[in-house]
Amino acid sequence: MALIINEEQQMLKTSTKEFLDLKSPLSSLRVLRDHSYKTHDKDLWMEMVEMGWTALTIPEEYNGLNFGYVGLGQVLEEMGRKLTLSPIISTVLMSSTLISLSKNEILKTKLFQEIMNGSKLVSTAHEEGIQHNPNTINSLLSKQGEGYVLNGKKNFVIDGSISDYLIVSSKDESGSNTMLVLVDSKSDGITYNNKVHMDSRTYSDVSFRNVKVDKLNLLSEENDGDSILEKTFDIARVGLAAEMLGSVQEAFEMTMSYLKEREQFGVKIGSFQALQHRSALMFGEIELCKSIVLKALQAIDSNDSNLPKLASLAKAKLGMTFKLVSNEAVQMHGGIGVTDDADIGFFLKRARVIQRILGDSNYHLDRLAKINNY
């Protein structure tokens, strides 16, 4: 497949950009933050829903747009440029992806409809440590009568404070099967500790204490829990990388503009060769980022068996580049760059949080080596 986006995908990207330029400039983040760290603008979210963003990856048979992940990637990239706050990561990129991999057709049909019409938000609850660690699941799903009860603790649930449903990973009583269940977020026995992080987004630590789960709410069958989870993670990693790609480009472009504008010692600071070389190096890294993000997005849509490797390449590379570029962007902005008045600092902060979601660069470099058997 050619490593370019097609005309339809380009149109989606352009319309997303135009929409966000108008409705969600970078300054929106500051406004929401300064309103007691509001999680997102609900009206804006309904507009996004109307534009079909929650339906992009849903197959036609469920009345979705079947636009694929390359399409969703373009939307995420543009949202990354504006650091737009919305439930798209939790509900669409993670939960809807997970649901699409489930064989529970009844639940799938229902949830897809609720996601597409914007009536429900869904979060996945899967982390149990302070680092991403998909291999550790201590939460327990025990049989009780016709159904189950869930016990355990989950960390860092994205949008946990606003979602209507939670999809929770757990082990069955044998300890060998990974079980994925959907629970109503208001169920008895669920308690939340909502925490604002440095990117002004809210993540929740969630406790489950004897939470009743109907057997109809099982999203995994015997034995497919792990594979659903792993594939969801890989797809989400690529989606996060797409978001990061947008952020990296925006931070870089803002910095290039600043270098062309700001004067010091009587000349534009962009004329200093040391800054020019550092800028050229960043340019190169960003070119690399564009290629791996697109390749990995295509791999999702084409069901490429290399997805795990490509997902790790994307998450590792974007993590490193976002760190580099956000550091250089703040540094090159000088004094103004470290003030809260400047928007450039938002990228620095987002870089540090999104880096950790589903594995940081160290995690994925290590995973790449393991995939390549060393």
Binding site: H197, L275, N327, Q331, G337, V338, A342, D360
Partner: protein, 397 residues
Amino acid sequence: METQVNVDLTSFRMEARKWLEDNCPLSMREKLTDPKQLFWGGRKGEFYNKDQKDWFERMLKKKWIVPYWETKYGGGGLTPTQNNILNQEMTRLGCRKPHINFGITMLGPAMLKFASEEQKLHYLPQITKGKIRWVQGYSEPNAGSDLANLQTKAEDKGDHFLVTGSKVWTSFGDKGDWIFCLVRTDFSSKHNGVSFLLIDMASEGVSTRPIKLISGNSPFTETFFDSVKVPKENLVGTLNEGWTIAKYLLTHERQMIGGIGDTDKKEYLRDEAIKVLGKNNDILSDTILRAKIAELEMNQEIFDLTIQRTMDEHKAGNNSGAASSFFKYYGTELSIQSEELRLSVNGFNASEWTSEESNNGAQARHFCRTKGYSIEGGTHEVQLNIIAKRILGLPSK
């Protein structure tokens, strides 16, 4: 003779140790967990608790607020060696500094070198008593690292200067009493037309506005001067030659930011990593992070040795060592890298911003704060320029 000196020093050490043990309250020997635990003095200075007050007052009585200044200026009159010993003993016990003030670390040294005897006798004793909280004013909104472009002007009005303009990056300008400033007294030349002036911030026409940083905190202000009358005797050094004093002071600032003279006990990132991440086959479970921590700690350890070597060379009368620009660059760079790695170590917890458990996001905010270190007191880029030109003698275009 040599022996007598050693005996005297040993007994000084023993006395100092005993005095500190007797007089430094136990809570004043704990690691700082909050900037408020530092006492900055001045008109608005408040003690955090009784122990802090006791500690300050005992040290004040002992004349050890600034132990190495001459007694006529309110200091303790200690020799450099005695002062070193005192520092060592304070570090050994973990004693906090009783008082922090730019008057001690920056203005004082400059006054000792450039001020008139009258000025010294007037200002220095006040500094040793913690009566004035000093603020510095160099940078201006459009000057940044380019001090030669200063616009704040001081017009000669016979018995006073009339000062108009503004300064940015004045540390805690809203909490300070007096500011030492670079002002332009002659617009006809760039470097030579600048003078060094002391201004009472209670004067009419002085106002401040806090600058909020990406850390969410405001350790700096913008300070505005709207036709402020400043008595002529507040000029330090020669008119139009403030640049000399500024350069001298910047050197001190660089060393401060670079971490020289830091008496805090060391905390190792590796210990935090071992605790948080655990080991696997006897080595830190994240081997990539392990390598980065090892490299950082290697450089930290060798940087500390380099500070020591430079001080030892200095003592031996040999100034061939590295310059303050290098210390400023490297010291801040290590702090920045260390905080970056700490984020990796602590994962999801590290980026918390508001929760109580995270002490209002102390770690994340401190990380953000370090991003300013490579900009304040001359950016990284300016330091590298200085090294290239002044130390390595590389040519200009």
